[in-house]
Symmetry: C2
Protein backbone atom coordinates (compact mmCIF):
# COMPACT_ATOMS: atom_id res chain seq x y z
CA UNK A 1 0.00 0.00 0.00
CA UNK A 2 1.23 3.44 -0.84
CA UNK A 3 1.53 5.86 1.98
CA UNK A 4 2.50 9.21 0.56
CA UNK A 5 2.12 12.70 1.83
CA UNK A 6 2.09 13.84 -1.74
CA UNK A 7 1.61 11.76 -4.86
CA UNK A 8 3.24 14.39 -7.03
CA UNK A 9 6.81 13.40 -6.31
CA UNK A 10 9.09 14.95 -8.94
CA UNK A 11 10.80 12.62 -11.40
CA UNK A 12 14.26 13.56 -10.18
CA UNK A 13 13.28 12.78 -6.58
CA UNK A 14 12.21 9.25 -7.52
CA UNK A 15 15.63 8.75 -9.10
CA UNK A 16 17.37 9.86 -5.91
CA UNK A 17 15.09 7.78 -3.68
CA UNK A 18 16.03 4.76 -5.75
CA UNK A 19 19.67 5.62 -5.12
CA UNK A 20 19.10 6.06 -1.36
CA UNK A 21 17.39 2.65 -1.15
CA UNK A 22 20.33 0.99 -2.92
CA UNK A 23 22.94 2.71 -0.75
CA UNK A 24 20.99 1.99 2.46
CA UNK A 25 20.90 -1.70 1.50
CA UNK A 26 24.67 -1.67 1.02
CA UNK A 27 25.13 -0.02 4.45
CA UNK A 28 22.82 -2.62 5.98
CA UNK A 29 24.89 -5.45 4.46
CA UNK A 30 27.96 -3.84 6.03
CA UNK A 31 26.30 -4.10 9.44
CA UNK A 32 25.55 -0.38 9.89
CA UNK A 33 22.46 0.56 11.91
CA UNK A 34 22.35 4.36 11.90
CA UNK A 35 23.58 7.03 9.51
CA UNK A 36 23.66 10.82 9.61
CA UNK A 37 22.11 12.75 6.73
CA UNK A 38 25.57 14.25 6.05
CA UNK A 39 27.15 10.82 5.64
CA UNK A 40 24.28 9.44 3.57
CA UNK A 41 24.47 12.56 1.40
CA UNK A 42 28.19 12.05 0.84
CA UNK A 43 27.80 8.37 -0.11
CA UNK A 44 25.01 9.24 -2.52
CA UNK A 45 26.80 12.25 -3.96
CA UNK A 46 23.99 14.73 -3.18
CA UNK A 47 23.94 17.55 -0.66
CA UNK A 48 22.48 16.99 2.85
CA UNK A 49 19.73 19.62 2.48
CA UNK A 50 18.58 17.82 -0.70
CA UNK A 51 18.31 14.50 1.18
CA UNK A 52 16.31 16.07 3.99
CA UNK A 53 14.01 17.70 1.45
CA UNK A 54 13.53 14.46 -0.50
CA UNK A 55 12.71 12.47 2.62
CA UNK A 56 10.20 15.08 3.73
CA UNK A 57 7.81 13.65 1.12
CA UNK A 58 7.60 10.48 3.16
CA UNK A 59 7.18 11.69 6.70
CA UNK A 60 9.67 11.98 9.51
CA UNK A 61 12.40 9.37 9.74
CA UNK A 62 15.31 11.33 11.15
CA UNK A 63 16.12 11.58 14.84
CA UNK A 64 17.82 14.80 15.86
CA UNK A 65 21.41 14.23 16.97
CA UNK A 66 21.35 10.57 15.90
CA UNK A 67 20.58 10.46 12.20
CA UNK A 68 18.46 7.96 10.35
CA UNK A 69 17.81 4.37 11.40
CA UNK A 70 18.92 2.56 8.27
CA UNK A 71 16.49 -0.35 8.26
CA UNK A 72 13.45 1.79 9.10
CA UNK A 73 14.33 4.46 6.56
CA UNK A 74 14.90 1.91 3.81
CA UNK A 75 11.62 0.12 4.58
CA UNK A 76 9.71 3.39 4.67
CA UNK A 77 11.04 4.51 1.28
CA UNK A 78 10.38 1.09 -0.23
CA UNK A 79 6.84 1.07 1.14
CA UNK A 80 6.23 4.57 -0.15
CA UNK A 81 7.45 3.63 -3.62
CA UNK A 82 5.46 0.38 -3.75
CA UNK A 83 8.67 -1.65 -3.46
CA UNK A 84 7.74 -3.57 -0.30
CA UNK A 85 6.57 -6.48 -2.40
CA UNK A 86 7.72 -8.72 -5.27
CA UNK A 87 7.11 -7.54 -8.84
CA UNK A 88 6.75 -10.17 -11.56
CA UNK A 89 8.50 -9.32 -14.81
CA UNK A 90 8.63 -10.80 -18.30
CA UNK A 91 11.56 -10.12 -20.62
CA UNK A 92 11.25 -9.93 -24.42
CA UNK A 93 14.39 -10.28 -26.57
CA UNK A 94 16.98 -12.84 -25.53
CA UNK A 95 20.06 -11.29 -27.15
CA UNK A 96 23.27 -10.35 -25.34
CA UNK A 97 21.64 -7.70 -23.17
CA UNK A 98 18.55 -9.81 -22.43
CA UNK A 99 20.72 -12.76 -21.37
CA UNK A 100 22.82 -10.50 -19.14
CA UNK A 101 19.72 -9.19 -17.38
CA UNK A 102 18.31 -12.70 -16.94
CA UNK A 103 21.57 -13.77 -15.27
CA UNK A 104 22.05 -10.55 -13.29
CA UNK A 105 21.24 -11.11 -9.62
CA UNK A 106 20.53 -7.41 -9.08
CA UNK A 107 16.94 -7.75 -10.35
CA UNK A 108 15.96 -10.39 -7.81
CA UNK A 109 17.88 -8.58 -5.05
CA UNK A 110 15.77 -5.47 -5.72
CA UNK A 111 12.46 -7.37 -5.71
CA UNK A 112 11.95 -8.00 -9.44
CA UNK A 113 11.49 -11.67 -10.43
CA UNK A 114 11.71 -12.52 -14.11
CA UNK A 115 8.98 -15.15 -14.57
CA UNK A 116 9.18 -15.48 -18.34
CA UNK A 117 11.67 -14.93 -21.19
CA UNK A 118 10.49 -14.52 -24.79
CA UNK A 119 12.01 -14.31 -28.25
CA UNK A 120 10.74 -14.72 -31.82
CA UNK A 121 13.89 -16.54 -33.03
CA UNK A 122 13.08 -20.27 -33.46
CA UNK A 123 16.71 -21.08 -32.60
CA UNK A 124 16.34 -19.47 -29.18
CA UNK A 125 12.88 -20.80 -28.30
CA UNK A 126 13.25 -23.75 -25.91
CA UNK A 127 16.74 -22.72 -24.76
CA UNK A 128 17.15 -22.53 -20.96
CA UNK A 129 18.67 -19.37 -19.47
CA UNK A 130 18.96 -18.77 -15.73
CA UNK A 131 16.37 -21.46 -15.10
CA UNK A 132 13.84 -20.11 -17.61
CA UNK A 133 12.86 -21.77 -20.87
CA UNK A 134 12.68 -19.19 -23.67
CA UNK A 135 9.15 -19.02 -25.07
CA UNK A 136 7.79 -17.76 -28.40
CA UNK A 137 6.94 -14.04 -28.32
CA UNK A 138 3.56 -14.62 -29.95
CA UNK A 139 2.50 -16.45 -26.78
CA UNK A 140 3.10 -13.34 -24.68
CA UNK A 141 -0.54 -12.15 -24.43
CA UNK A 142 -1.66 -15.47 -22.98
CA UNK A 143 1.45 -16.12 -20.87
CA UNK A 144 1.43 -12.71 -19.19
CA UNK A 145 -1.99 -13.50 -17.76
CA UNK A 146 -0.99 -17.03 -16.70
CA UNK A 147 2.23 -15.80 -15.09
CA UNK A 148 0.50 -12.79 -13.51
CA UNK A 149 3.28 -10.47 -14.71
CA UNK A 150 2.90 -6.71 -14.34
CA UNK A 151 6.11 -5.33 -15.86
CA UNK A 152 7.67 -6.09 -19.25
CA UNK A 153 11.34 -5.53 -20.09
CA UNK A 154 12.10 -5.03 -23.80
CA UNK A 155 15.64 -5.96 -24.92
CA UNK A 156 14.91 -6.57 -28.60
CA UNK A 157 16.66 -4.81 -31.51
CA UNK A 158 15.15 -1.39 -32.21
CA UNK A 159 13.03 -2.54 -35.15
CA UNK A 160 11.22 -5.15 -33.04
CA UNK A 161 10.55 -3.01 -29.96
CA UNK A 162 7.09 -1.81 -31.01
CA UNK A 163 5.92 -5.34 -31.83
CA UNK A 164 7.16 -6.54 -28.44
CA UNK A 165 5.30 -3.64 -26.81
CA UNK A 166 2.11 -4.57 -28.69
CA UNK A 167 2.28 -8.16 -27.40
CA UNK A 168 2.90 -6.94 -23.85
CA UNK A 169 -0.03 -4.51 -23.99
CA UNK A 170 -2.33 -7.20 -25.44
CA UNK A 171 -1.42 -9.38 -22.45
CA UNK A 172 -2.44 -6.64 -20.02
CA UNK A 173 0.99 -5.52 -18.87
CA UNK A 174 0.95 -2.42 -16.63
CA UNK A 175 4.44 -1.04 -17.24
CA UNK A 176 7.30 -1.40 -19.73
CA UNK A 177 11.02 -0.80 -19.23
CA UNK A 178 12.45 -0.41 -22.74
CA UNK A 179 16.20 -1.01 -23.27
CA UNK A 180 15.85 -0.97 -27.08
CA UNK A 181 17.01 2.26 -28.76
CA UNK A 182 13.53 3.04 -30.11
CA UNK A 183 10.58 5.05 -28.88
CA UNK A 184 7.39 2.99 -28.50
CA UNK A 185 3.74 4.04 -28.68
CA UNK A 186 1.49 2.76 -25.87
CA UNK A 187 -1.96 3.63 -24.44
CA UNK A 188 -1.84 6.36 -21.80
CA UNK A 189 -2.50 4.01 -18.85
CA UNK A 190 0.70 2.02 -19.57
CA UNK A 191 3.82 3.24 -17.76
CA UNK A 192 6.94 3.41 -19.98
CA UNK A 193 10.54 3.98 -18.90
CA UNK A 194 13.47 4.15 -21.33
CA UNK A 195 16.93 2.91 -20.35
CA UNK A 196 19.29 4.67 -22.72
CA UNK A 197 22.88 3.91 -21.74
CA UNK A 198 24.26 5.36 -24.99
CA UNK A 199 22.97 8.68 -23.70
CA UNK A 200 25.46 8.40 -20.80
CA UNK A 201 28.34 7.62 -23.17
CA UNK A 202 27.36 10.60 -25.34
CA UNK A 203 27.20 12.83 -22.29
CA UNK A 204 30.61 11.63 -21.06
CA UNK A 205 32.17 12.26 -24.49
CA UNK A 206 30.59 15.71 -24.62
CA UNK A 207 31.81 16.73 -21.16
CA UNK A 208 35.33 15.48 -21.97
CA UNK A 209 35.24 17.53 -25.18
CA UNK A 210 34.28 20.63 -23.19
CA UNK A 211 37.12 19.95 -20.71
CA UNK A 212 39.55 19.48 -23.59
CA UNK A 213 38.42 22.76 -25.18
CA UNK A 214 39.24 24.39 -21.83
CA UNK A 215 42.74 22.84 -21.93
CA UNK A 216 42.12 20.75 -18.80
CA UNK A 217 44.13 17.75 -20.01
CA UNK A 218 47.02 19.53 -21.73
CA UNK B 1 36.18 20.41 -32.60
CA UNK B 2 33.33 21.78 -30.54
CA UNK B 3 31.29 24.49 -32.10
CA UNK B 4 28.74 25.65 -29.59
CA UNK B 5 26.79 28.83 -29.29
CA UNK B 6 26.64 28.18 -25.61
CA UNK B 7 28.67 25.72 -23.58
CA UNK B 8 26.15 25.72 -20.75
CA UNK B 9 23.79 23.20 -22.30
CA UNK B 10 21.44 21.87 -19.62
CA UNK B 11 21.80 18.22 -18.61
CA UNK B 12 18.30 17.36 -19.83
CA UNK B 13 19.03 18.89 -23.24
CA UNK B 14 22.08 16.65 -23.71
CA UNK B 15 19.85 13.65 -22.97
CA UNK B 16 17.37 14.73 -25.64
CA UNK B 17 20.10 15.55 -28.19
CA UNK B 18 21.40 12.02 -27.72
CA UNK B 19 17.89 10.77 -28.44
CA UNK B 20 17.56 12.98 -31.55
CA UNK B 21 20.89 11.68 -32.92
CA UNK B 22 19.78 8.08 -32.45
CA UNK B 23 16.37 8.66 -34.05
CA UNK B 24 17.90 10.63 -36.95
CA UNK B 25 20.26 7.72 -37.61
CA UNK B 26 17.30 5.33 -37.71
CA UNK B 27 15.48 7.62 -40.17
CA UNK B 28 18.62 7.81 -42.30
CA UNK B 29 18.85 4.00 -42.40
CA UNK B 30 15.22 3.99 -43.58
CA UNK B 31 16.23 6.20 -46.51
CA UNK B 32 14.58 9.40 -45.28
CA UNK B 33 16.19 12.71 -46.28
CA UNK B 34 14.05 15.42 -44.64
CA UNK B 35 11.86 15.56 -41.55
CA UNK B 36 9.58 18.19 -40.07
CA UNK B 37 10.09 19.24 -36.47
CA UNK B 38 6.54 17.98 -35.75
CA UNK B 39 7.34 14.49 -37.02
CA UNK B 40 10.75 14.35 -35.32
CA UNK B 41 9.07 15.51 -32.11
CA UNK B 42 6.47 12.75 -32.36
CA UNK B 43 9.08 10.02 -32.97
CA UNK B 44 11.15 11.24 -30.03
CA UNK B 45 8.15 11.70 -27.73
CA UNK B 46 8.83 15.38 -27.00
CA UNK B 47 6.87 18.43 -28.10
CA UNK B 48 7.84 20.37 -31.27
CA UNK B 49 8.57 23.64 -29.45
CA UNK B 50 11.00 21.74 -27.19
CA UNK B 51 12.88 20.37 -30.21
CA UNK B 52 13.14 23.81 -31.81
CA UNK B 53 14.39 25.23 -28.51
CA UNK B 54 16.95 22.43 -28.05
CA UNK B 55 18.32 22.83 -31.57
CA UNK B 56 18.64 26.59 -31.13
CA UNK B 57 21.77 25.88 -29.02
CA UNK B 58 23.49 24.63 -32.14
CA UNK B 59 22.63 27.19 -34.78
CA UNK B 60 20.04 27.11 -37.54
CA UNK B 61 19.36 23.78 -39.23
CA UNK B 62 15.67 24.08 -40.07
CA UNK B 63 14.37 25.28 -43.41
CA UNK B 64 10.97 26.97 -43.25
CA UNK B 65 8.29 24.94 -44.99
CA UNK B 66 10.63 21.97 -45.52
CA UNK B 67 11.85 20.82 -42.13
CA UNK B 68 15.28 19.55 -41.22
CA UNK B 69 17.75 17.88 -43.55
CA UNK B 70 18.38 14.65 -41.63
CA UNK B 71 22.03 14.05 -42.49
CA UNK B 72 23.07 17.67 -41.92
CA UNK B 73 21.18 17.96 -38.65
CA UNK B 74 22.61 14.70 -37.32
CA UNK B 75 26.17 15.68 -38.29
CA UNK B 76 25.78 19.12 -36.75
CA UNK B 77 24.54 17.72 -33.42
CA UNK B 78 27.29 15.10 -33.38
CA UNK B 79 29.93 17.70 -34.11
CA UNK B 80 28.56 19.96 -31.42
CA UNK B 81 28.63 17.15 -28.87
CA UNK B 82 32.14 15.99 -29.82
CA UNK B 83 30.71 12.81 -31.37
CA UNK B 84 32.12 13.34 -34.87
CA UNK B 85 35.08 11.12 -34.04
CA UNK B 86 35.88 7.69 -32.56
CA UNK B 87 36.19 7.37 -28.77
CA UNK B 88 38.40 4.62 -27.39
CA UNK B 89 36.97 2.83 -24.37
CA UNK B 90 38.23 0.26 -21.87
CA UNK B 91 35.82 -1.95 -19.93
CA UNK B 92 36.48 -3.22 -16.39
CA UNK B 93 34.50 -6.19 -15.06
CA UNK B 94 33.78 -9.04 -17.43
CA UNK B 95 30.65 -10.45 -15.77
CA UNK B 96 27.28 -10.91 -17.48
CA UNK B 97 26.72 -7.22 -18.09
CA UNK B 98 30.31 -6.56 -19.19
CA UNK B 99 30.15 -9.45 -21.68
CA UNK B 100 26.84 -8.18 -23.04
CA UNK B 101 28.30 -4.71 -23.61
CA UNK B 102 31.41 -6.14 -25.28
CA UNK B 103 29.19 -8.09 -27.68
CA UNK B 104 26.66 -5.30 -28.19
CA UNK B 105 27.10 -3.68 -31.61
CA UNK B 106 25.42 -0.47 -30.43
CA UNK B 107 28.68 0.85 -28.93
CA UNK B 108 30.64 0.66 -32.16
CA UNK B 109 27.64 1.94 -34.15
CA UNK B 110 27.62 5.05 -31.96
CA UNK B 111 31.37 5.67 -32.28
CA UNK B 112 32.68 3.98 -29.13
CA UNK B 113 35.32 1.28 -29.71
CA UNK B 114 36.18 -0.97 -26.79
CA UNK B 115 39.96 -1.41 -27.09
CA UNK B 116 40.54 -3.32 -23.85
CA UNK B 117 38.63 -5.60 -21.44
CA UNK B 118 39.85 -6.13 -17.86
CA UNK B 119 39.00 -8.32 -14.90
CA UNK B 120 40.77 -9.35 -11.67
CA UNK B 121 39.49 -12.94 -11.81
CA UNK B 122 42.38 -15.25 -12.87
CA UNK B 123 39.84 -17.59 -14.49
CA UNK B 124 38.70 -14.80 -16.82
CA UNK B 125 42.12 -13.36 -17.69
CA UNK B 126 43.19 -14.61 -21.13
CA UNK B 127 39.66 -15.46 -22.21
CA UNK B 128 38.66 -13.99 -25.60
CA UNK B 129 35.39 -12.07 -25.85
CA UNK B 130 34.28 -10.25 -28.99
CA UNK B 131 37.84 -10.36 -30.30
CA UNK B 132 39.41 -8.97 -27.12
CA UNK B 133 41.63 -10.92 -24.75
CA UNK B 134 40.67 -10.17 -21.14
CA UNK B 135 43.61 -8.59 -19.28
CA UNK B 136 44.41 -8.31 -15.58
CA UNK B 137 42.92 -5.18 -13.98
CA UNK B 138 46.18 -4.30 -12.27
CA UNK B 139 47.65 -3.63 -15.74
CA UNK B 140 45.05 -0.94 -16.38
CA UNK B 141 47.22 2.11 -15.59
CA UNK B 142 49.87 1.06 -18.12
CA UNK B 143 47.44 -0.32 -20.74
CA UNK B 144 45.22 2.77 -20.83
CA UNK B 145 48.24 4.81 -21.93
CA UNK B 146 49.32 2.20 -24.50
CA UNK B 147 45.80 1.87 -25.90
CA UNK B 148 45.21 5.62 -25.82
CA UNK B 149 41.79 5.11 -24.18
CA UNK B 150 39.84 8.11 -22.89
CA UNK B 151 36.70 6.56 -21.41
CA UNK B 152 36.37 3.70 -18.91
CA UNK B 153 33.23 1.60 -18.46
CA UNK B 154 32.87 -0.05 -15.03
CA UNK B 155 30.75 -3.22 -14.93
CA UNK B 156 32.21 -4.76 -11.76
CA UNK B 157 30.20 -5.78 -8.69
CA UNK B 158 29.50 -2.80 -6.42
CA UNK B 159 32.29 -3.61 -3.95
CA UNK B 160 34.96 -3.47 -6.66
CA UNK B 161 33.78 -0.31 -8.44
CA UNK B 162 36.01 2.10 -6.49
CA UNK B 163 39.13 -0.01 -7.05
CA UNK B 164 38.35 -0.14 -10.78
CA UNK B 165 37.92 3.64 -10.77
CA UNK B 166 41.28 4.06 -9.00
CA UNK B 167 43.05 2.01 -11.68
CA UNK B 168 41.34 3.98 -14.44
CA UNK B 169 42.30 7.31 -12.88
CA UNK B 170 45.89 6.18 -12.37
CA UNK B 171 46.02 5.38 -16.10
CA UNK B 172 44.90 8.89 -16.99
CA UNK B 173 41.32 8.17 -18.06
CA UNK B 174 39.21 11.28 -18.77
CA UNK B 175 35.72 9.96 -18.15
CA UNK B 176 33.99 6.99 -16.48
CA UNK B 177 30.60 5.44 -17.20
CA UNK B 178 29.71 3.41 -14.12
CA UNK B 179 27.17 0.59 -14.42
CA UNK B 180 27.97 -0.80 -10.93
CA UNK B 181 25.39 0.09 -8.26
CA UNK B 182 27.91 2.08 -6.20
CA UNK B 183 28.92 5.73 -6.06
CA UNK B 184 32.60 6.33 -6.78
CA UNK B 185 34.94 9.11 -5.66
CA UNK B 186 37.08 10.71 -8.38
CA UNK B 187 39.12 13.93 -8.81
CA UNK B 188 37.05 16.86 -10.06
CA UNK B 189 38.51 16.83 -13.59
CA UNK B 190 37.25 13.28 -14.25
CA UNK B 191 33.79 13.07 -15.81
CA UNK B 192 31.52 10.44 -14.20
CA UNK B 193 28.16 9.19 -15.43
CA UNK B 194 26.06 6.58 -13.63
CA UNK B 195 23.86 4.11 -15.51
CA UNK B 196 21.30 2.96 -12.98
CA UNK B 197 18.74 0.76 -14.69
CA UNK B 198 17.25 -0.40 -11.38
CA UNK B 199 16.15 3.20 -10.97
CA UNK B 200 13.91 2.76 -14.03
CA UNK B 201 12.41 -0.45 -12.65
CA UNK B 202 11.77 1.29 -9.31
CA UNK B 203 10.16 4.21 -11.10
CA UNK B 204 7.96 1.89 -13.18
CA UNK B 205 6.84 -0.01 -10.08
CA UNK B 206 6.12 3.26 -8.30
CA UNK B 207 4.03 4.70 -11.16
CA UNK B 208 2.07 1.43 -11.45
CA UNK B 209 1.40 1.58 -7.70
CA UNK B 210 0.07 5.13 -8.08
CA UNK B 211 -2.15 4.04 -10.99
CA UNK B 212 -3.41 1.10 -8.94
CA UNK B 213 -4.20 3.37 -6.00
CA UNK B 214 -6.31 5.44 -8.42
CA UNK B 215 -8.15 2.27 -9.50
CA UNK B 216 -6.89 2.48 -13.07
CA UNK B 217 -6.57 -1.28 -13.53
CA UNK B 218 -9.69 -2.45 -11.67
Amino acid sequence: MLNLKNEKIPRATIGRLSLYVQQLEILEQQGEKVISSEKLAKICGVNPSQIRKDLAYFGEFGVRGVGYYIYELKQAIKKSLGLDRIWKVVLVGVGNLGRALLRHNVLIKRGFIVVGAFDCDPFKIGEEIAGLEVMCSSNLPQKIKELDAEIGIITTPQERAQRAANYLIKGGIKGIVNFAPARITVPSHIVVEYVDFINHLFSTAFQISLNQAKGMYS
